[in-house]
Symmetry: C2
Subunit: 336 residues, 2 copies
């Protein structure tokens, strides 16, 4: 293991000079810099992370807390995680992967040990138990998702209210009067995950404004559960011609069921999904959808956090504007 001191000796300079070459915090003559850089290369020197962290009290690590549940929004989570990791690297940070399992303790551990310089929390609930800790520990953090009280916190999320509104608007614009929402699993609402409720808010308020009749039903996802939900919806509102789906696991089952019942998409029934682009494109019908900009969220979160760590205080809440892409699953409401 090559050390700074060895590089210094090899280059014929002092250790501090090498350090300044590395950090650029003081001016170094061109010749010295080159000599040092050459030694670094020749010896294959890599600064020791621990020593660096100790001396500078900066670990150059960002902690990312992902939810433990592997049953839900997996691709989205993964995409965010990967976006976080790659974006972090471009800013010179590495990413520490924490699972939700440890819960609040993880916050304590990371903040206390100086393992990471800051953290990004995913899957934030409206009344998340990690938040008080975050506030009191003054740990630089960015949330992906929106809690009930955002005071003093930096958050990044898709604007789900606007997303909901956009879906209804699209269907209303096509003449649909009865729209059903196939929502997330009941557990998601019970946990008060913010995005689900905000979407619903947006759906409802725009429905009110446009005179659309809205029916919302949570749905577990999977074929059987979706079948039950859909048949219940069609019993209650036989005139339903528009569906909004916010549950990846219900998308394909829904399409299969509609086909099976002889309802053509989009001639008889229109479907709008809130899902990652990939899902919308790969479905059996190319879906009109509002995409979940997972990558962008991950990237934004890191950039907000890095800004904080650099002392550039920044915006508190960033809501990414939703974009609806019209594909093959929505069209004018059938004339009756």
């Amino acid at each position: 293991m090559v050390t700074l001191a060895e590089v210094a000796q090899h280059a014929g300079v002092s250790a501090s000079t090498v350090s300044y070459v590395l950090s650029g915090k003081r001016s170094i003559s061109a010749t010295t810099r080159q000599r040092v850089e050459r030694s670094i290369r020749e010896l294959g020197y890599h600064p020791n992370a621990g020593a660096r962290a100790l001396a500078s009290s900066r670990s150059n690590i960002i902690a990312l807390m992902v939810p433990l549940r592997t049953d839900i929004y997996v691709p989205v989570m993964m995409e965010i995680a990967i976006a976080v990791a790659t974006t972090a690297r471009t800013h010179g940070y590495d990413v520490l992967l924490l699972t939700g399992e440890e819960g609040p303790d993880a916050v304590r551990r990371v903040a206390g040990s100086g393992l990471a310089d800051g953290m990004i929390l995913m899957d934030v609930e409206l009344d998340d138990e990690r938040l008080p800790l975050l506030r009191e520990s003054a740990q630089p953090a960015v949330l992906i998702g929106l809690p009930a009280d955002t005071g003093g916190l930096t958050c990044v999320d898709l604007d789900f209210r606007a997303t909901g509104a956009l879906c209804v608007e699209h269907l209303a614009g096509l003449g649909h009067r009865d729209v059903a929402v196939i929502g997330e699993a009941p557990a998601v609402y019970e946990r008060h995950t913010g995005f689900a409720e905000r979407t619903l808010d947006g759906l409802r308020s725009r429905a009110r404004e446009t005179g659309v009749r809205l029916l919302h039903r949570p749905c577990e996802g999977g074929y059987d559960a979706t079948a039950a939900t859909v048949s219940r919806i069609l019993d209650e509102r036989p005139d339903t011609t528009g569906f909004v789906v916010q549950n990846e696991a219900a998308v394909e089952p829904l399409l299969a069921l509609l086909r099976q019942q002889g309802r053509a998409v989009p001639e008889d029934v229109s479907v709008v999904a809130v899902c990652p682009e990939q899902v919308a494109v790969q479905a059996s019908v190319r879906l009109t959808s509002v995409s979940l900009p997972a990558q962008e969220m991950g990237r934004h979160a890191v950039e907000q956090l890095v800004a904080k760590l650099d002392g550039r205080g920044d915006a508190e809440v960033v809501l990414l504007p939703p974009a609806l892409t019209v594909r093959a699953s929505s069209g004018p409401a059938p004339v009756r």
Copy 2:
């Protein structure tokens, strides 16, 4: 930020004593231990990770390299990653998330900087460019997946040869004589990802032994590509009554197509999938499948690595035995 020294002072002992209480590397009297532990609690002490790493040259961090591609086996990857993270925690390790993006450089960086004590590589290719580095740097590592040359490396993987064999065996046992394999995307085979080729090996050799006629076709996944692949297969071998699918993105399309063509599953056609359990259960037909034991692989990988780090040298290659679960998609071959 509370330090060891402050805890020592508060407890009226020396710093080294506190350290030994924490590490348990020397015997400490019960009374002293309790006093120290009390001080730790009262002061809310957390050891500083950097200092610890520097002094002990152990970071207690495991690096996990996940593939950058977000288009393939995402749920499996995620499940493995989460299993790695949680298992690592139970052994006192944290997990650093590296994306494939950096490629071999990441290995150099991590090995050189002492950022992590060891690493786990996912999505290993037959002739992976990270392997030479791994060998020369003597970095403790575990691969998930099997390269061509496993010499000096520790690997964990599902036994894909046996998996392939098992699938054929199951179908052969049910009387199927013509079996088609819908494989991974061509790119996967071109990259020489080991598991795809090994599965194929297993399929073929058992087909030979059981006298089954086997047709293998790579498939991109998605509806259109799968449709093309299936119709080609049925043109070439109209008597095909058994399908083996090893591409999650082709599973649902395949089932839809079969339905559409009026081929009943499992009465007319049997389908066996190689996929995560969740996919098999949530499909429109509950699939007979060999599951990808993602969690188990993650857990095993960590345990192998921890063993290495503890100086307990261990087995070189661990192949997890496949298990086929019979569900609703396979049955006796139709009588002609």
